[in-house]
């Protein structure tokens, strides 16, 4: 059995019926993915235009702790270098929105985004707001250059595979976050410490986050004295994050997992004041309108594909 087939079997759903409409579905997915990719580059343009109001804030900065993609800022006049990155980002984002079918435009968008996000994170703190945009912009470079009418089956398949890889890398980062939390919990459990799987774990994290910067949030101060209410939220978040990558292989889950991750980010904002809105937008684009989601409603499809839960249901029903 090949590696990719083994991976599909490991991450994919229990019942994996081959569809007689596979070819038809490939064309539908391709058309939908193409529209989403166009929207993707329009959103990048929106980000670049929205940045213009912050240009003076960037240009007033007098010191940078440069990340590797903008190392060259150390050897050029800082203000001029930053102006080059900001204006370059705007120009390439515009080109990307107009010519998303051209690889040269997508490559320039990736470089512009990489430089801008690296600059934005070169002031002492790396935040992860735009990491997923950088990673997906890199993957989208490899989309085939095509006209919709001339795309044959092989080209369509390459297109949807690259699109799927964008979904997969986004979900993989959530799985890594979930795996980190589980590993951390196991370590702290054996060390006899409080951990994320304990009732007071979540509220300790919230309290520390708010105390560190003496900031507040909408619901955090209220939840801290009520750890039992926060506990199921934390356990649900760990499940959602840990098994996110599985959802990439289970198309009935795409929309639901996307909605879950967006709610997760809304919850994080309300409780901890951490804004992750660029990631919310990307998750919405890739999953709420996933081109692989089956529009037909199949009873029990979602439950049948939920990691662990589907296995549990399968075992229980088989034993009855």
């Amino acid at each position: 059995m090949s590696f990719s087939r083994r991976a599909r079997r490991f991450f994919g759903p229990f019942d994996h019926p081959s569809s007689p409409r596979a070819l038809h579905r490939q064309t539908e997915s391709f058309q939908a993915a193409r529209i989403i990719v166009r929207c993707y580059y329009v959103v990048v343009l929106f980000f670049a235009v929205a940045t213009v109001r912050d240009w003076s804030g960037y240009l007033d900065r007098q010191e940078v702790l440069t990340l590797w993609p903008v190392w060259w800022l150390d050897i050029v006049p800082l203000r001029g270098g930053m102006l080059g990155i900001l204006s370059g980002y705007l120009v390439v984002a515009f080109l990307g929105a107009v010519f998303p079918d051209r690889r040269w435009a997508r490559t320039m968008v990736f470089v512009g985004l990489l430089e801008f996000v690296a600059l934005d994170n070169s002031f002492g703190k790396i935040n992860h707001n735009h990491h997923l945009w950088v990673l997906t912009a890199f993957l989208l470079i490899f989309l085939p250059d095509i006209q919709a009418r001339t795309a044959n089956r092989a080209v369509r398949q390459r297109f949807v595979t690259i699109f799927w890889s964008c979904q997969a890398i986004v979900l993989l980062t959530y799985t890594m976050s979930g795996a980190g939390k589980v590993a951390g919990a196991i370590y702290q459990l054996f060390a006899g410490q409080n951990n994320v799987l304990m009732p007071t774990g979540f509220v300790s994290i919230i309290a520390n986050r708010l105390l560190e910067t003496n900031s507040s949030s909408w619901l955090g101060p209220w939840l801290i004295p009520h750890p039992w209410l926060g506990w199921p939220l934390m356990l649900g978040s760990v499940y959602l994050e840990l098994f996110a990558f599985w959802a990439a292989f289970r198309r009935a889950l795409h929309r639901w997992w996307g909605a879950g991750l967006i709610l997760f980010h809304v919850g994080v904002y309300l409780l901890m004041g951490i804004d992750f809105s660029p990631a919310v937008l990307l998750v919405g684009l890739l999953f709420l309108v996933s081109p692989f989601q089956d529009e037909r409603r199949i009873r029990g499809a979602v439950v049948n594909q939920l990691p662990i839960v589907s296995w549990f249901v399968h075992v229980v029903f088989r034993s009855l």
């Binding site: 002031f123 799927w164 890594m176």
Partner: protein, 155 residues
């Protein structure tokens, strides 16, 4: 078909590589090589925390009645609740304790030019606390590490 197989293999390699590289960045001092990250955010529950912090003694030429933590310095600094400053101060504290002079100077320049009022006297301290106890009682312990004055003098 061969081209598609290569593409699929490449995608699998990219995903596996990101996973492996991401977690291996945990071994690095900065715990990240942008844009590769372990994404281990809030993986550990804070117990008895020990963090670096800045305390202002004098701001904009005005001597303060008692030292004020940067995050409590509403009206004295532009953005007392800045997460970026919190991170910069952690890097600063590590650089001071490990005696990395060049990095200290660089971070000080950034703090003094972009985040602290001028002129200013301030100290680097460590604060120790249990988050839930501090949340309820406001109690924490302070240990001063070094004094600074901006622009550019270390008393």
């Amino acid at each position: 078909m061969a081209a598609y197989r290569i593409l699929r293999g490449w995608v699998a390699l990219f995903l596996a590589g990101y996973f492996a590289l991401g977690f291996s960045t945990l071994l690095l001092p900065g715990r990240e090589i942008f844009p590769v990250s372990s994404w281990s955010l809030f993986a550990l529950v804070p117990g008895q925390e020990s963090r670096y912090a800045l305390r202002l003694l004098e701001a904009g030429g005005q001597k303060l009645a008692e030292p004020v933590l940067y995050q409590d310095a509403e009206g004295l600094v532009a953005n007392p609740h800045s997460v970026a400053v919190r991170e910069i101060v952690q890097q600063f504290g590590l650089a001071v304790e490990q005696g990395r002079i060049q990095e200290q100077l660089r971070i000080r320049r950034m703090l003094e030019k972009d985040h602290l009022p001028s002129p200013c006297r301030y100290e680097l301290v460590t604060i120790s606390y249990d988050p839930l106890v501090r949340w309820r009682t406001g109690r924490y312990e302070v240990r001063p590490l070094a004094h600074y004055a901006s622009p550019g003098v270390t008393p």
